[in-house]
Symmetry: C2
Subunit: 159 residues, 2 copies
């Protein structure tokens, strides 16, 4: 797309940024709705991890589209940066809902932070090492951990 066309639709850098955030938010919501059809919370969480694995070539080429957008926008401390935060907070909320359904009460937020961190981090590693395969092993570890939370008397501890 020639830059002129972009500026025909969006008058400022802020408008472009807002449009990208809204687009990513819609994509995330669509994914969550699709995963919400899976009957068990551990299935929904493992399904999310699987989407990360399926995107490993993309992650190795350019990093996580949400993570790199947020990191980029947070070089400034402005309204756009603040708005991009919604991408992570919505994801954390959805993860938390699943962990609570798994039986984790007080710790659901901490578990959600752990899962989102791990996924963001493996995207940074895959990108920097240009290694899509590195996502596979970490995803298996995370899926194993999620299954453990689902089977071990629903207490939601990692250890």
């Amino acid at each position: 797309v020639p830059l002129g066309n972009v500026y025909y639709y969006f008058k400022t850098k802020e408008e472009i940024g807002e449009a990208i955030i809204e687009e990513r938010l819609l994509q995330a919501k669509a994914l969550q709705q699709r995963l919400d059809e899976i009957s068990s919370p551990e299935g929904r969480l493992c399904g999310f991890v699987k989407v990360t694995v399926d995107s490993r070539q993309l992650l190795a080429r350019g990093g996580c589209p949400i993570g790199t957008l947020c990191t980029e926008l947070h070089k400034e401390d402005d309204a756009l940066a603040k708005h991009s935060t919604v991408l992570f907070s919505e994801l954390l909320k959805w993860f938390e809902t699943q962990f609570r359904a798994l039986g984790a009460k007080a710790d659901a937020h901490g578990l959600a932070v752990h899962l989102l961190s791990a996924l963001q981090g493996i995207a940074v590693l895959a990108h920097t090492l240009r290694d899509p395969k590195i996502v596979i092993g970490e995803a298996e570890r995370l899926q194993g951990w999620i299954q453990t939370l689902g089977t071990h008397d629903n207490r939601g501890d990692e250890a």
Copy 2:
């Protein structure tokens, strides 16, 4: 520092990039040498996690200095990007050494990837959410997990 001064010492963008990578590498090596004086491998790994906790204000302001540098340089697929990879691969090697000393044989690399991912990811979250406190809970979880690896018959499993 006025930009003119920087270009007095460094003739090209590549030279500046190389100098930053070398500086970060020296800092990482100095930290590892300091931590190597701790007698137990779980103490060394928990010590590394503690350094992340102690840096939480910095992480919330600007992200991980190594992670954001690598992400930035990997927007290009050039020699500088390739060189920056050494920052992660050296860290992974050091983590692996500790996990092997903890008794994890075949899985030492996977455990190292898991720990580095978690730390990179929590830095991305702290930065995007502008929340230094989020690092504390995740660090406690990781330190608890490392201690478990050290005490539960040295098998190096997460679950």
